[in-house]
């Protein structure tokens, strides 16, 4: 007799064994109809490099973010204090400028929107209100993500505005790879539908077989039509088939961090959050699952958006609130109180970033750990928040990419060094040979490759 687990039970299951890391328990109810374990490490050699982009919005306040000294012996700034235990695992990169974000101002005069579009794409907003180019994570996924259960796995806490800024991952300039925002859905994608919630036999793959066949026949029946749209559909069918395929074994790296009781929400509200309901607890639940997707070998590429550009979240628990304009309003304040509030918010965001680094570093992998075997690109849509500035973008590169990158420094490049050079460098570290990236990325940065 199979025991039926509720979704909540399963999510709690991730975190059983308070305080210690445990192997994911293989519960009876995680088996599919054929007795196969749902969730499988497919094809990943232990220690292969994972890649993640991490986004926070609204810029930073220079004085509390950038350390005074450069080199290895710099002192962490106030906002970077949450990262102190990882000082040798990341490099702080100052001086990069997103010149591409000045493009296409006649399409949208909101610097946040363009800054968001230029976060990882090397371009700006495109005329049809998407991006000009594919994002760096997707360029990488096309190479290192193939054959995985998920070619990439974008996740977001915030941003559900129904527009370009909802996503930081773009397969092509006008094809976003939609982020998963619902922890329950993210769990289902990784570990399958909890039993008891639907059919005793899952017929979804039968339906997908029929649909794939039907799409092919439609293409033959209709000579003149938007073949690209039909191909998109067929690709989605194939991708979903891969995602739903039963998984045979979980690797030894597939361990879950301990968590307190998980508070699980459904889908986020239709508009971007204004009242702080996106708690850090929810962010951390999503981060746990995202890290688990790496450690279980379900994907090799991810992106995490803590909130979308110009976000108006109210950080009530920090006392950092601003009319109805929240974080965005605070970031534009030039008063001492405003800057204090902005510094508190950025510090809080760095704590979430540190939380993820801690999880990754705690997962042993091939004699090292998951963080060591990963590369993480952290940045923002603008530099100094109050001026919509695109210079001095706060960029952090973390994880040793399997030993290819040395960290522990604060590098200050000459003002105006193209931000895209950093993205090009990231691709090179990941083993891709693209000669350039975006509009301005022509040279790699010799500190990393």
């Amino acid at each position: 007799m199979k025991r039926h687990l509720s979704r909540r039970t399963l999510l709690r299951g991730i975190g059983l064994g308070s305080g210690v890391c445990i192997g994911l328990p293989i519960l009876d109810a995680m088996l599919d109809g054929n007795g196969n374990l749902i969730g499988r490490a497919k094809g990943q050699a232990s220690g292969a490099t994972n890649f993640l982009t991490f986004f926070i919005p609204n810029g930073v306040f220079t004085d509390t973010f950038w350390p005074d000294q450069t080199g290895a012996n710099y002192e962490l700034s106030r906002c970077l204090m949450p990262l102190s235990e990882f000082k040798s695992d990341f490099t702080l990169v100052q001086g990069l400028e997103k010149q591409e974000a000045f493009r296409n101002q006649d399409i949208n005069n909101d610097a946040h929107v363009r800054g968001h579009a230029s976060y990882a794409t090397g371009g700006s907003l495109a005329s049809n209100l998407t991006c000009e180019f594919a994002s760096v994570d997707q360029v990488a996924a096309a190479q290192i993500g193939t054959g995985m259960r998920f070619k990439s796995l974008p996740v977001a806490l915030g941003g559900a505005l129904g527009e370009v800024s909802d996503n930081i991952s773009w397969e092509t300039g006008n094809t976003p790879v939609q982020a998963t925002r619902d922890p329950a859905l993210l769990f289902e994608k990784l570990f399958g539908k909890p039993a008891g919630g639907g059919l005793s036999v899952d017929y979804r793959t039968s339906v997908l077989d029929y649909v794939a066949d039907d799409i092919t026949k439609v293409k033959m029946e209709i000579p003149f039509t938007d073949k690209a749209r039909l191909d998109e559909y067929l690709t989605s069918v194939r991708d979903l088939e891969t995602q739903l395929a039963p998984v045979a074994t979980l690797g030894p790296d597939c361990v879950a961090p301990a968590v307190p009781d998980a508070r699980i929400g459904g889908e986020p509200p239709a508009i971007d959050d204004n009242d702080g309901t996106y708690s850090n607890e929810r962010a951390q639940l999503l981060l746990r699952l995202q890290v688990l997707a790496f450690s279980c070998g379900f994907t090799r590429v991810g992106s995490f958006m803590l909130a979308s550009r110009g976000n108006k979240r109210q950080f009530k628990w920090l006392g950092a609130v601003h009319g109805e304009d929240g974080h965005h309003g605070i970031s534009h304040e030039t008063t001492p109180e405003g800057r204090e509030a902005q510094s508190k918010i950025v510090t809080d965001e760095m704590e979430q970033f540190a939380y993820m680094l801690r999880l990754m570093k705690g997962i042993p992998q091939g004699g090292q750990n998951l963080l060591y075997n990963s590369l993480i690109f952290f940045a923002n849509e603008c530099g100094q928040g109050d001026s919509h500035d695109f210079s001095n973008i706060p960029v952090i590169l973390a994880g040793q990419a399997g030993g290819k990158v040395q960290h522990g420094r604060h590098i200050r490049y000459n003002e105006g060094t193209p931000y895209d050079n950093m993205l090009l460098t990231v691709l090179r570290v990941l083993g891709l040979s693209n000669p350039t990236f975006g509009v301005y990325g022509k040279q790699t940065l010799s500190d990393f490759v």
């Binding site: 005329s127 049809n128 129904g162 029929y210 439609v218 209709i222 039509t225 749209r229 989605s236």
Partner: protein, 587 residues
């Protein structure tokens, strides 16, 4: 390094302001250049001379500036649009006779549609995540639809799954009949066998003894097929000039989703099947019939809802301490009020849509009457007439429209309301880049909103934009963030609603929403903008220069028929662009 100083400033700044604004405003076809476009010749492109039009460079964000009608019309290619979530739910509701309760269970499953904006095709994607949701919803719909004999009898003539083998003929009726309804035309027999093969993959067993499992699986396949989820078009018959004709079947689908927002019903399918949708005259007759059908209130109502912005009310947030009455019930009432009011100006032939700007009445229920300060009429919408000197006029001062267009912040209300008017009714939004450092308006709580915003007139980096916005938005200063009237502002100053619309001929001034509404009602730009929005709604894409004449025809029909929206819609559905398709480089 290139610094921000070198960034291109918006072209608007290169012109004296009046000229720049005039350039932004859509003027559309001049009388002379449009003559050739009015022929509506169904046999091929119209004969208008191809003149080099003085088109301003395209500004794409939203909405685009349509060049003048100078080149002959070229119909676009056949459409391939995914159903919107709203269209999906209405279609399954109508095909399977779902109950309101079942519909409300499906709705949350299909929320959040990524980049989708209304029914614009480009944003309607079909990612693996979308597909995941469609599979879940399809399983639910199949369970609902096949749950009881009564339910099954509503849409199927054969009880596929009843005890014993229902027989070949029965199975074929079930699958062929459903495919005919769901795929919006008859399905080739070979494809019906594919459905049968899918059903046969479900074998009732001890773990799943449901005898209707095969039929349910088939329904899941039907609901996930590209023939249902996508609006496929197959324009085959060759017309002249290399154009292809949209088939009767595909025309019935275009009409149905445009006018009703749902799948064609059986009667409309019969019209298509009997080739009664071939000539422009036949299409005009069918369009007129469909427009007076109650379902048009859902279809065209959706367009009106988007035009007036009231759909945004659903997501609007208000501070509970300041606006304790703000709740879902009030939001629904607001949207219902505007929808009901607007029906008086479009849902019958011969009505003047633009009269809705200035009509001195509305419909209120208890929720709204409290907001209006009127006696409670009960829970249903009841007509109330405004006194001649009332500041309320037409839809512009309805709480739903006033709430949709602004945030609750007093200081930005005039800006956002001005922007709303420009975008929705004048089709002009493209604005210069905001200055790198946005100066905070004075925080002095002892200043009036107008005084605090006055630096927008004196600061040269603010003025070019805000001159277009603030003076329009001031017209609504007598209404708060949920559309309640107030006579005085925060400093006790009398609120007059005085403002100015730069860019309309003569840069007219006005006092109060009544005069602003009259200005808009009388302006050519409003009709031109509406025609442009109707085009976008119909075709699910942004218009290009090839569409300029189609839009002009619609606008001129609207004007010639005394602003009867139904006649504008007939002009659209009988146009070449609606009835033909062309494929660049293909014959």
């Amino acid at each position: 390094m290139v610094k921000p100083d070198a960034r291109p400033r918006h072209k608007l700044l290169q012109f004296p302001l009046g000229a720049g604004v005039a350039m932004l405003l859509l003027t559309g076809c001049g009388a002379t250049s449009s003559d050739g476009a009015k022929s509506g010749n169904p046999k091929g492109p119209s004969t208008a001379a191809t003149t080099t039009s003085t088109v301003p460079p395209a500004m794409v964000f939203p909405p685009p500036v349509i060049p003048e009608c100078g080149t002959p019309i070229t119909p676009g290619p056949g459409l391939l649009r995914r159903l919107t979530n709203e269209e999906y739910i209405r279609s399954v509701r109508d095909i399977f006779y779902l109950t309101p309760d079942e519909v409300s269970q499906l709705q949350p499953l299909l929320q959040n549609d990524g980049l989708a904006v209304g029914n614009i095709a480009e944003g309607l994607r079909l990612s693996p995540d979308h597909l995941r949701k469609y599979l879940d919803v399809a399983a639910k719909v199949a369970d609902f639809a096949l749950s009881t004999p009564e339910r099954r009898a509503k849409f199927a003539t054969c009880d596929y799954g009843a005890a014993g083998d229902p027989g070949f003929q029965c199975r074929k009726e079930f699958s062929g009949g459903l495919a005919y309804r769901m795929f919006r035309q008859a399905l080739p027999e070979m494809r019906v066998w594919d459905l049968e093969a899918l059903a046969n993959r479900a074998v009732p067993s001890t773990t799943d003894p449901d005898p209707y499992r095969p039929a349910k699986l088939m329904v899941q396949g039907l609901l996930t097929s590209p023939r249902f989820l996508l609006r496929l078009e197959n324009p085959t018959a060759l017309a002249s000039h290399g154009w292809k004709s949209i088939t009767s079947w595909d025309l019935s689908v275009r009409l149905s989703y445009m006018l009703w927002g749902t799948n064609p019903d059986e009667a409309l399918q019969l019209t298509a099947r009997s080739q009664q949708l071939n000539s422009a005259g036949q299409i005009a007759d069918v369009t007129r019939k469909m427009l007076v059908d109650p379902r048009a209130k859902e279809g065209i109502g959706r367009f009106i809802n988007r035009w007036l912005g009231v759909e945004l009310v659903s997501d609007a947030v208000r501070d509970a301490a300041t606006y304790p009455e703000w709740n879902d019930g009030l939001k629904v009432s607001m949207q219902a009020e505007t929808a009901r009011f607007m029906e008086d100006f479009w849902s019958k032939p011969g009505l003047n849509l633009l009269d809705a700007f200035t009509a001195k009445y509305t419909y209120v229920d208890d929720n709204l009457a409290a907001l209006y300060g009127l006696p409670l009429p009960g829970p249903t919408l009841t007509r109330v007439d405004f006194a001649a000197n009332s500041p309320r006029v037409g839809f512009l001062t309805q709480p739903g429209v006033l709430s949709a267009s602004i945030s609750q912040k007093e200081l930005v209300a005039p800006i956002l309301r001005g922007k709303f008017i420009r975008k929705q009714f004048l089709c002009t939004l493209s604005l210069p880049e905001a200055p790198p450092v946005v100066p905070s308006p004075p925080q002095d709580p002892n200043l009036t909103t107008r005084d605090r915003l006055s630096q927008h007139r004196t600061n040269t980096s603010c003025e070019p934009c805000h001159q277009l916005l603030d003076p329009v938005g001031f017209g609504f200063e007598q209404f708060d963030a949920i559309g309640r009237f107030r006579a005085t502002g925060s400093q006790g100053e009398a609120l007059t609603g005085a403002g100015q619309v730069f860019g309309l001929p003569g840069d007219p001034t006005f006092t109060g929403p009544g005069e602003l509404a009259a200005l808009l009602q009388g302006s050519e730009e409003v009709s031109a903008c509406l025609a442009q929005q109707a085009f976008r709604y119909t075709y699910g894409r942004e218009p290009t220069s090839a569409d300029a004449c189609t839009i002009t025809q619609a606008r001129e029909a609207f004007k010639a028929k005394k602003f009867d929206l139904q006649e504008m819609i007939v002009a659209i559905t009988t146009s070449d662009a609606f009835r033909f398709a062309s494929y660049p480089g293909a014959l």
